[in-house]
Symmetry: C2
Subunit: 321 residues, 2 copies
Amino acid sequence: MSQTEFVVGIDLGGSNIRAAVVSQQGEIKAWAQAPIEAARGVEQGIQRIQNLIRQVMEQAGIRQIAGIGFGSTGPIDRKRGLIQNPYTLPGWENVDIRTPLSRAFDAPLIMENDADAAALGEAWLGSGKGTSRFALVTVGTGVGSAFILGGQIYRGMDGEHPEAGHQVLDPNGPPCYCGARGCLESLASGPAIAESARRLIQQYPNSSLARLHQSGQIIEATHVTEAARQGDEFAQKIIREAGCYLGLGLVNLILFYLPECIALGGGVMKNYDLFFPHIQQVLRQHDVVVPTRRVRLVPASLGNKAGVLGAARAIWLELKG
Amino acid sequence: MSQTEFVVGIDLGGSNIRAAVVSQQGEIKAWAQAPIEAARGVEQGIQRIQNLIRQVMEQAGIRQIAGIGFGSTGPIDRKRGLIQNPYTLPGWENVDIRTPLSRAFDAPLIMENDADAAALGEAWLGSGKGTSRFALVTVGTGVGSAFILGGQIYRGMDGEHPEAGHQVLDPNGPPCYCGARGCLESLASGPAIAESARRLIQQYPNSSLARLHQSGQIIEATHVTEAARQGDEFAQKIIREAGCYLGLGLVNLILFYLPECIALGGGVMKNYDLFFPHIQQVLRQHDVVVPTRRVRLVPASLGNKAGVLGAARAIWLELKG
């Protein structure tokens, strides 16, 4: 094994690949991102990843790394180091990431689900620092979750990772590909918020969203949050409903995990302040059999660095035990 | 510390107190139970517990014990060894159990919530034996839960224990004292099943339950399970609905914990076979983002011995590390 004091953390999403050179203390020596353009094929994709790693190593002025932590949009086969995600990365099924990258950089590679990596990063250096039980819930195109217990990623049977975003909250809710009706993702993700707005818009002809809709614009979640921020009552109602469902989802999370801290991340949570009062109200209402009031609820704090830092932490944990 | 090879495990419920002398391998050398009659007061109650411990020690032919594991209906203050349960044990608030029993038997005492103790017993010697992640869900007057991770009771912040029975499953469901509408307990506990039957009985005048109701009998959950077993369609419908909600509750549990095995215990689950097909169907329907199909679902197997064995295990873990 190399004696270098740095590892590379990778964060592979559906659109972008990010890489950072990270010390054992969590210092970022170099950082870069580039589009992955997954549809151009696996071979070119792996080449892009390698180029990005070389780029950050050069920026950091190092010629060797002790290991690679690779956080990827799932599903993945963690043990074998495979990406199996034709949904987000078209054509990427059974893609062996470990073999080519380990060979190219003469370094061990550990792979983690991206939600797990982001949570590990937040628990190490961000919103969950110093906690023994920390949950991250990401609200964006989907709703993801991860749980960090004693500084380690919580894994279920066969290494499976939790999916609190698909918990059932309302059996009369919208259908989801997960098999449920009314799972959290179907009620409070970005697309769910947009869909709610589109479904109810006829009833609120005076809303600014209705005017946008009439102008031919397809309503997205960002339109709803913008309108809510500008005082549009219909948009505020949509946010309130999603916020209440998020609150119920967090009540359930607390009933199972009883964490000291929950952080909310993901694209939709850039508007954390809009959702927070509704979530908080639901948590207070359910503060009876478990102390929901004592759980610290915060926005995730590492932004687009959480994934690379968590991936780096994962390989450091592997290397140093 | 005493050099004896036995401990005493206690299981204190709302009606009965059970005690067993248990070896480090889980062998029960003596067992007894007696009514607690909590309303007669704390002092007499503690006396009854002491008498029962002396009785089982005599039966086992031992004069000393290495420790006492005390499982109790909650809420309890685990660290201070207090019972704080005026709900189930009238008048028992801030009752110090540790001091008098430790003194009387010259032995350390560890206290656990009864659901945690039962789960620890099942994981040690029963339905969860050999698993790394084991959940017990008890369905009776309430719905309780516990999670055993790596052979130890999973505890949340400040030692709090999970309460999966109060997870929200249907925000349009019945109100519960926990602050929720439509928590699992409000939808699938014994009283919830009875309440469903009483609410809908007018619509099913040909049901055997309707005839029972007309005769002046107050319908309880046991009447519903009996009628279902005899082919009554209305009763079967009630069981199916409760079974489906239990299934949804277990789907959520799997999404958070991903256990190898879930055991169902408690009074209502004496009719496990009636509920199982409905639970199973819901689990299969949700086998998409997590492998619900791979989770082993079984009835709890230690019956009324789970609590004393788990309490014994808890003190053995404390003594031997």
